[in-house]
């Protein structure tokens, strides 16, 4: 029963990881740029939510729309003002640009909010539901529910709205999209904004049950990479599957072996998948 509890907790955490990685996957899938500042953006958003929580007692779930909107704006402007110009650059050059951006994010967070680990206070932090012997933390259930809502909203956006369909057209065939008159640069900016909003939302959800620290940002970036590679770069269902896999493997490794070894198992999983199926579990072959 204990193992089952741990499995479920891992599954719930995994749903949030999925939303976080989805942002990275969407950006890569459409713009073909690897966002090396992904975790850094999330941590910056988390600190905004924490500040709201500390000053006015705002629940991170209520801060979520605000943080997501702010990160959307940041992502949109970043793509519009800078990354759009670098689309044709070789990979290593883009990599260094995004890396410099990630340094700017981490150091700005550090300058504004300080280096201390912080967490958000919510009244229901220790509540839990009991379900036939299964014990579920209320915070995890709420957070996972939020992640599912976020993913569903994104899914609806990409399949139901004109802008969403236009973005998918850009991803499928950039030249074709230009030929039929789509404003590719604007759509790219919207995409980057959406990716950033996703990770911002995931950050607010994670905040319900984790502490945050500026230096943890790069760990989250790596975590997001692992997840999208597992699932398949650019695949939406893949990001979710990868998130759940990593969530569960972290929970099990943390319980059976050693919490500090948990990310080694994630990296091991990544190496295995890269070698056996480099396009990821649900990705299309290049």
């Amino acid at each position: 029963m204990l193992v089952l509890n741990i499995l479920v907790a891992g599954l719930l955490t995994g749903a949030i990881y999925g939303l976080m990685a989805l942002g990275l996957s969407v950006i890569f899938g459409v713009i073909r740029v690897v966002n090396f500042a992904h975790g850094e953006m999330m941590v910056a958003g988390m600190y905004v939510a924490i500040e709201l929580n500390a000053r006015w007692g705002v629940d991170p779930l209520l801060a979520l729309p605000l943080v997501a909107a702010a990160l959307f704006a940041v992502g949109y402007l970043l793509q519009r003002g800078l990354i759009n110009r670098l689309i044709d650059r070789p990979q290593h050059s883009q990599f260094l640009v995004l890396l410099a951006i990630s340094i700017l994010f981490t150091s700005s967070t550090l300058m504004i909010f300080g280096p201390d680990a912080r967490n958000a206070q919510v009244g229901y932090a220790f509540d839990s539901y009991e379900l036939g012997g299964l014990l579920l933390d209320k915070v995890r259930v709420l957070a996972a529910g939020g992640a599912v809502v976020g993913v569903a909203a994104l899914w609806a956006f990409f399949t139901r709205t004109r802008t969403g369909k236009a973005i998918r057209a850009c991803a499928d065939n950039q030249l074709g999209a230009q030929v039929v008159g789509l404003d590719v640069k604007r759509l790219y900016a919207v995409t980057f904004g959406l990716g950033a909003a996703c990770v911002g939302a995931a950050g607010c959800l994670l905040l319900l049950f984790v502490d945050v620290q500026p230096y943890l940002a790069s760990d989250y970036t790596l975590l997001a990479f692992i997840i999208v590679i597992l699932g398949g770069l650019g695949s939406m269902p893949g990001a979710l599957l990868g998130g759940v896999l990593v969530g569960v493997s972290e929970a099990l490794a943390g319980f059976f072996i050693d919490p500090s070894l948990k990310s080694m198992f994630s990296f091991g999983l990544l190496i295995l998948v890269l070698l056996v199926r480099p396009q990821g579990l649900l990705g299309r072959p290049a």
Binding site: S93, T106, S107, M111, D258, L270, I271
Partner: protein, 327 residues
């Protein structure tokens, strides 16, 4: 570099570099040691990325393997540093060969190869965090002694000794790179970089030559790792194998100019001096993160404004008539 101006400039530079420890303060010498480490590591990394087009974001792995092998053999068995260094080169080279063979067999390229290199480096970092024989996460320490006079055989001595050692290594790496890039293997590498299928069609065994580049780059990197171990006298997995180390290592050659001989050196000087200047400028103002922020901003500006690197642009401005192979 055949222009007469370039030769004179080179001769002056060499003379200045050789005389530096005699006139400069200890601080300057230790900053120059950092520059030389960065320049040397940049040359080693450049063998893979600049010449063959293999982007490795996990080179800290080879630094760490070289450092830990040499240091652990010294601490546990009293093996002289130079022998430990050779062992470290072998270990790093083997690791590189395994990673390379796996990736090339399975056809991993571009982003996927780069991410695999990160994955192996991080995997090893966490592994070493739990590897008791080398001190796990609490670190591995070498006894500190004999800092005034240079004991070259045991790699013990003042910064000036490490300065000359690294200077020699940078020169050796430069000459080796030059010989390789002008030789048969260099042309094969560039052919593979530009178009692997075409290279294969001409009968170049790309698998073998790519593997050779990884093994050589890893072994060269491990040398610096071993020397760093004896220079700093302490090793922690979280700092040696850190991804930040890999990134720092590749920033110099990219900023300086990828695939050029002078690039890693120019980039190393620029970035190290920038880092040190920012440290002293921000020392008075106690704001956490200000230094990193300025570093990030300058890095961003350089990469956005000079995509080909500083060195090709600079050498043209100075009339040093770069006859170097362009990337």
């Amino acid at each position: 570099m055949s222009a007469p101006r370039a030769r004179i400039a080179l001769a002056l530079l060499v003379a200045a570099l050789l005389a530096l420890p005699l006139i400069a303060s200890n601080y300057i010498v230790s900053v120059m040691v950092l520059v030389l480490f960065a320049a040397y590591l940049g040359q080693a990394w450049n063998i893979m990325m600049g010449y063959v087009g293999l982007l490795s974001i996990g080179h800290a792995l080879y630094v760490g393997l070289g450092a830990y092998t040499a240091a652990a053999l010294f601490v546990h068995y009293g093996l002289p540093p130079w022998l430990g260094m050779v062992a470290g080169m072998a270990v790093a080279s083997l690791a590189g060969t395994v990673i390379g063979a796996l990736s090339f067999r399975f056809g991993l390229t571009g982003v996927y190869f780069a991410l695999l290199t990160i994955a192996f480096a991080e995997f090893t970092r966490i592994l070493f965090d739990h590897f008791g024989w080398v001190g796990a996460s609490s670190g591995l320490f070498l006894p500190v002694k004999n800092l005034t006079h240079a004991d070259f055989l045991n790699l013990r001595g003042p910064p000036a000794m490490f300065y000359y050692l690294m200077l020699a290594l940078v020169a050796a790496a430069l000459l080796l790179s030059r010989a390789l890039i002008r030789g048969r293997i260099g042309f094969y590498w560039q052919a593979i970089r530009e178009d692997q299928d075409a290279a294969e069609a001409l009968g170049i065994n790309s698998f073998r030559y790519k593997l050779a580049a990884v093994a050589l780059s890893a072994a060269m990197t491990a040398i610096a790792g071993a020397i760093q171990a004896f220079y700093y006298n302490n090793l922690y997995p979280s700092s040696v194998f850190a991804i930040g180390n890999s990134v720092e290592l590749m920033a110099a050659p990219i900023v300086g100019g990828l695939g050029t001989l002078g690039g890693p050196l120019v980039g190393a000087i620029l970035l190290t001096v920038l880092g040190e200047t920012l440290t002293s400028l921000t020392a008075g103002i106690h704001i956490d993160g200000l230094k990193q922020w300025s570093y990030g901003a300058v890095l961003l500006a350089i990469v956005v404004l000079r995509p080909g690197g500083i060195w090709p642009w600079l050498s043209e401005r100075l009339g040093l008539a770069a006859r170097e192979p362009k990337p």
